[in-house]
């Protein structure tokens, strides 16, 4: 049991002492997860919007595919991305393996269905009266779309937070694609996996606490934004 207590102490030691391997892992985690969250919002928001706003043939099937993608295990995404960006793979020439960019690609694939599905649901949940109200107030098609998006901003924010939480905590993709290279692609989660493998449970717990702190800060600042 003492390694749990030791973990707490260690967490503060690592952060306060400015331990470079810890801080580079924290920084790498932040960079890569922020990047992949933004990419997934960039791709997922329009797709989710189209899916939630318009009715078209085959929409149901697309939703089913999207919902299935929600269940994709990270190790599978990691493997698939590896297969593509490996030097033997179709995107091998770009040298993305063992880079944060590679991880970001994988995490974007992980987060995209979350953002798209949640956005689609939020858009679908828009009060039917909203569109009618906007039309009767003289809004054009573009006004309607932007106003609708602004109306569901909290839902979209929630989608982003969910996606961020997912990419922040995933380990399969970071490990498979990033290779857990110290000072480069080692993220907090792969570092935890490593420390656990080394039997250094206290260090693993310390890093876990750091991760929770980051998640906490992110959520806190978002709820602050929401109040604004």
């Amino acid at each position: 049991m003492d390694f749990i207590v030791a973990g707490f102490i260690k967490a503060f030691e690592l952060l306060i002492s400015g331990d470079s391997s810890t801080w580079t892992a924290v920084w790498a985690t932040l960079k890569v997860s922020t990047c992949s969250m933004l990419l997934s919002i960039g791709a997922g928001l329009p797709c989710g919007f189209l899916l939630g706003y318009f009715d078209f043939k085959g929409k149901k099937h697309l939703r089913t595919i999207l919902d299935t993608m929600l269940a994709l295990p990270t190790v599978f995404i990691g493997l698939a991305v590896y297969a593509f960006i490996s030097h033997q793979g179709p995107l091998g020439e770009f040298g993305l393996l063992f880079t944060l960019t590679g991880i970001a690609i994988g995490q974007t694939i992980l987060a995209f269905p979350i953002v798209a599905a949640l956005t689609a649901s939020t858009i679908e949940s828009i009060d039917h009266d909203l569109k009618l109200t906007l039309v009767t107030l003289g809004a054009g098609k573009r006004n309607i779309i932007t106003t609708c998006l602004w109306e569901v901003r909290f839902g979209i924010l929630a989608a982003a937070v969910t996606a961020y939480g997912r990419v922040l905590t995933e380990v399969g993709i970071s490990m498979m694609v990033g290779g857990n290279i110290k000072y480069h692609t080692r993220t907090i989660t792969t570092a935890i996996a490593l420390e656990t493998n080394k039997g250094l449970f206290a260090d693993g717990i310390a890093l876990g606490l750091v991760l929770i702190m980051i998640a906490f800060i992110v959520n806190l600042s978002l709820s602050f934004l929401r109040k604004q």
């Binding site: 960079k31 990047c35 030097h87 033997q88 063992f98 880079t99 290279i181 493998n197």
Partner: protein
């Protein structure tokens, strides 16, 4: 407006991050795939800064099982390998994936188990010890991950004339790294085979009071040879063959060999240099 300020600052942070990522993607240098034992023991953290300083070549590594390391090389995703599975390595070169194989150091494997030794293997030869484990159906942990260590262990069963007890209840395959496997063995009160380096690391974490003790050691078959492998440029044109060769040369140099000899974990030697 306050809101706008917050928004701009968030945007700035985000763009910095994206920039940081794209810069990072272009970095040049040698990429190595190696086994968990060299990484987990801290050998590479100790050795590589010397290499980088002396040759001005930057080197990054990813630590995984030997099986995956070889695969990464076969797919040209790395430039050089530091692995420990001689038969597989030789086959690898024969298949045209690897080019030069240079033996650089070794450590040895030991069989560890609980102090009360339920199968009574202490002091026995490795083959007798494994037979005893089998007869007593004592719990035995295997990595089961096709790593160098796992390959070695399978070889030991074969040498003892025992068919791999793959499906036996007492034969537990963890699918995890060495230290994790030792920890599982400790929880289950079982035997396992490990490289000495990892065992020392394990021992140190238990403050010299480790529940699992070394029971079988010293057999010549238990030697664990590490080699540097370069990739065959015919298979991997993109791999940095010249730099890989430099690394291989450096590892075999007197300088590096001395460094390896001096590397100690908790006062104990881990690797014995043996480059020819």
């Amino acid at each position: 407006m306050n809101k706008r300020k917050i928004f701009t600052s968030i945007l700035t942070i985000v763009f910095t991050m994206i920039l940081a990522i794209s810069v990072q993607a272009g970095s040049k240098g040698l990429m190595m795939a190696t086994t968990t034992s060299t990484d987990n023991t801290g050998l590479l953290d100790y050795l590589i800064p010397h290499f980088e300083k002396q040759t001005n070549i930057s080197l990054k590594w990813t630590a995984t099982g030997t099986g995956k390391a070889l695969k990464l090389g076969q797919n040209c995703d790395v430039d050089v390998l530091l692995v420990h599975a001689p038969p597989a390595e030789k086959k690898y070169i024969a298949n045209g994936y690897g080019k030069d194989r240079r033996e650089v150091m070794y450590n040895d494997f030991v069989i560890i188990g609980p102090e009360n030794d339920p199968a009574g293997i202490k002091g026995k030869s490795i083959s007798d010890a494994l037979s005893a484990v089998k007869n007593e159906q004592a719990v035995f942990m295997s990595r089961g991950d096709d790593s160098g260590t796992n390959k070695k262990e399978k070889l030991l069963w074969k040498n003892a004339g025992i068919q791999l007890p793959d499906k036996e209840k007492w034969y537990v395959q963890t699918g995890q790294g060495m230290l994790a496997t030792i920890n599982v063995a400790q929880e289950r009160n079982g035997y396992t085979m490990t490289d000495r380096g990892t065992y020392i690391k394990y021992q140190s974490q238990k403050d010299g009071n480790a529940p699992l003790k070394i029971l079988v050691e010293g057999d010549s078959i238990l030697l664990n040879q590490y080699s540097v492998l370069t990739l065959d440029p015919k298979n991997c044109a993109n791999a940095k063959y010249d730099l890989a060769l430099k690394f291989s040369d450096w590892m075999a140099s007197q300088n590096a060999q001395n460094l390896i000899k001096d590397f100690r974990l908790l006062g104990q030697k881990l690797f014995i240099p043996n480059a020819k």
